[in-house]
């Protein structure tokens, strides 16, 4: 096929991308400069952004999102690398079965798994009954109606759901590392831990960067789990930015302007964090 024809073949994709990605992004930016009550909107300039800074609920959700981000992402990445390393062992039997088991949480429905976590952690749920029966506790913990336990439950849920998903990235990264490098290291007398820290980790750097960035984006957009498991509660202990957007559109008097402003705020944070992570992890390519 000649070059000219190839050019035209991009057109349908460009049209779709323009309609469903570029246009909404621009339109929602314009919305974020308006204040709305249902379909009646008026232009308010940067007022929405100024209001955000003084909004307690917004501050709470920003704090919560940061807690989830700072605690959950490192734990998850560490676990993923360890799991991937174990699954990458040459002499491991039933590799296929283990790999399937690891990816299974990531293919379950977000809502379904959230409901299960909620049931497990209820006052008369599995976890409390188990801990009471083995005498670790003498009275049940109110996991979902006290602030820090509720956050803990959400973090556990997120780790359970996303660790396997990230393991797959690390696993494919590890399989791309040439065996010869390890053989050479062995001859030079490097032990397993040295091989891991000196060869595997440095060569996985681009994957670590990629996983960190997508996990950051995922955490900033966190919605399903807090919505189903705690509904943002108790109080505001687990409310997230995603839920703020939902509330301003579907719970309160619909204000698409304010909701868009929150969405743009998330974009700004996401871009800043991505740039920072690139700097820190030093992506040379």
């Amino acid at each position: 096929m000649k070059d000219k024809t190839t050019k035209y073949l991009i057109i349908p994709m460009l049209v779709l991308w323009g309609t469903f990605t570029v246009f909404p992004v621009l339109a929602s930016f314009i919305k974020s400069l308006q204040s709305c009550r249902g379909n009646t909107c008026s232009f308010v300039g940067l007022q929405n952004y100024a209001n955000l800074l003084g909004d307690n609920l917004f501050r709470e959700s920003l704090i919560n999102t940061s807690i989830f981000f700072i605690v959950q992402v490192p734990i998850m990445i560490l676990l993923s690398i360890i799991l991937a390393n174990v699954l990458n062992q040459k002499d491991l039997r039933f590799k296929g079965a283990y790999r399937t088991m690891v990816i299974l949480p990531a293919v379950t429905s977000l809502v379904v798994y959230s409901i299960f976590f909620k049931l497990i952690f209820m006052e008369n749920g599995l976890v409390n009954n188990l801990l009471l029966n083995i005498n670790v506790l003498d009275h049940p913990i109110q996991w979902l109606s006290t602030a820090n336990p509720a956050r803990f439950v959400l973090i556990i849920a997120l780790v359970w759901r996303w660790t396997g998903y990230n393991t797959v990235f690390f696993l494919s990264g590890m399989q791309n590392i040439d065996d010869e490098i390890y053989e050479a290291a062995k001859i030079d007398g490097a032990n397993t831990i040295q091989q891991f820290t000196r060869i595997t980790l440095p060569l996985l750097k681009p994957i670590i960067l990629f996983v960190t960035i997508i996990s950051t984006l995922g955490t900033l957009n966190l919605f399903d789990e807090p919505m189903v498991i705690t509904n943002g509660g108790p109080g505001t202990a687990t409310i997230t930015l995603g839920q703020m957007i939902y509330k301003h559109l579907f719970v309160f008097t619909p204000n698409a302007g304010y909701a868009s402003a929150i969405a743009y705020f998330i974009v700004i944070i996401a871009v800043t964090l991505a740039i920072l992570q690139r700097k820190v992890l030093g992506d040379d390519e």
């Binding site: 249902g38 909620k118 559109l249």
Partner: protein, 419 residues
């Protein structure tokens, strides 16, 4: 090349599949939640209407209540009227906001045909905007104190002890139940319970002009204080959500709860519960003068949208759910729907005792109590206020926060969002 053509064709087919529905086609599209009570009610009404009007067809769409609100708002914001139904069921708590924000989406046809003197004011007032009534009142949210007689008797008490109570009298009974049986005496969803208390004293979180009524609301303060006191006694089960709440009652973990008349079918599903339950009037706040032994919670009404066959829709609703005692008799027997249609109370079905509740005439009791529900306001900002109070009520009942702090912070938070 063939593949590309095939792909394009598929794409065009997908787009073509998204075409709208035709107006004036005599097909009434109805949205509702809960297949059991609401679904049976509207389809029974439709069957009744179809015997006279053979040319009208119905299309029923059932979905979760929250999903329906989300879908409605999305369609309304996008101006996509084709995806909206002709008839929609809206919760009484959310409807005033919709009526105010999307006023031009709602048809006024019901106002001309329905005789609203047949419905209680607490239902009709919130659906009235500038003198026009927009909806048809449907199920009755009047509340009762549901009690598990087995636990009550185990604690050495009887039904008579629970009649015409104040909350401080309930306190004593609650402690006795907790001590003698080790079970919870009361189960609540904190934010719902707060609204019940506030409504029973005839006020709400907004003023008549729509402004917020939180910081200076003495009744709200007393209600919160009451709840903090109750919880500190240790006899209250604080349910995390609806499933947890229903479970605490149906599993027999808690003896009593306050809920709307629509809770009866849920109670009746308890296996082996027959004869073990009674319903008393809700306790009143003794710290507030003029507080009633009655409140209402939940409840919903039907609305017609300015979209398609409004006249047919209005005629359908008025001739069935708007004026037929026989229909309400049938629905009460079949699914336990407690009506707000006042003439229904005259029928023998409503006057009959219910064996599940030991022969108690619960339905006429409910209708008697619904007369006593003090009028309260639900306006656009009520939802915002409720949400901000919901943020702090949990901390208040657990004593982690004082009532004054919670009220001040709720007011501040609600002010940021209120219109």
């Amino acid at each position: 090349m063939k593949k590309i053509i095939a792909l394009l064709t598929a794409f065009i087919l997908v787009l073509a599949g998204c075409s709208g529905e035709v107006e004036g086609d005599n097909i009434l599209k109805v949205w509702y939640w809960d297949p059991y009570i609401n679904g049976t009610s509207i389809s029974t009404a439709a069957e009744m209407y179809k015997t006279q009007n053979l040319d009208v067809e119905f299309e029923f769409v059932e979905m979760a209540r929250e999903d329906m609100q989300t879908k409605f708002t999305t369609a309304a914001l996008a101006g996509d009227m084709d995806s909206l139904p002709d008839v929609i069921l809206l919760g009484d708590d959310i409807a005033p906001m919709y009526l105010s924000v999307y006023n031009d989406l709602f048809a006024t046809n019901l106002n001309d045909v329905v005789d609203y003197s047949n419905f209680p004011d607490y239902k009709v007032d919130p659906m009235t905007v500038d003198g026009t009534v927009y909806g048809l009142p449907f199920d009755n949210g009047v509340s009762g104190l549901y009690c598990n007689n087995k636990i009550i008797e185990e604690a050495g008490l009887s039904k008579a002890d629970f009649e015409n109570l104040t909350w401080s009298q309930f306190d004593e009974l609650g402690l006795q139940i907790r001590e003698k049986t080790g079970k919870y005496a009361y189960s609540w969803s904190a934010i719902t319970n707060l609204r019940n208390l506030v409504h029973s004293a005839g006020t709400d979180y907004v003023n008549e002009d729509g402004s917020l009524n939180i910081a200076d609301n003495e009744i709200l303060k007393s209600s919160m204080q009451e709840m903090q006191d109750m919880y500190s006694q240790g006899y209250v089960y604080d349910a995390v959500d609806w499933t947890d709440y229903v479970g605490s009652i149906t599993n027999g973990d808690a003896a009593c709860t306050v809920s709307g008349a629509w809770f009866v079918p849920t109670i009746k599903q308890i296996e082996g519960g027959e004869g073990n339950w009674f319903i008393a009037e809700v306790p009143r706040l003794d710290t507030v003068e003029g507080a009633a032994n009655a409140t209402a919670e939940g409840g919903s009404s039907w609305y017609i949208l300015e979209n398609g066959d409004q006249d047919v829709a209005a005629e359908f609703l008025n001739t069935t759910l708007g004026s037929s005692s026989e229909l309400y008799d049938q629905l009460l027997t079949e699914v336990g729907l407690v009506a707000t249609y006042l003439p229904a109370a005259e029928s023998d079905t409503y006057k009959a005792g219910d064996e599940f509740f030991g022969g108690q005439t619960i339905y006429s009791d409910f209708l008697t109590w619904s007369d006593e529900v003090p009028p309260y306001l639900i306006l656009e900002n009520a939802q915002v206020a409720q949400d901000s109070l919901g943020t702090y009520i949990n901390a208040v009942v657990k004593g982690e926060m004082t009532v004054e702090e919670a009220i001040a912070q709720s007011q501040a938070q609600a002010e940021q969002t209120a219109v």
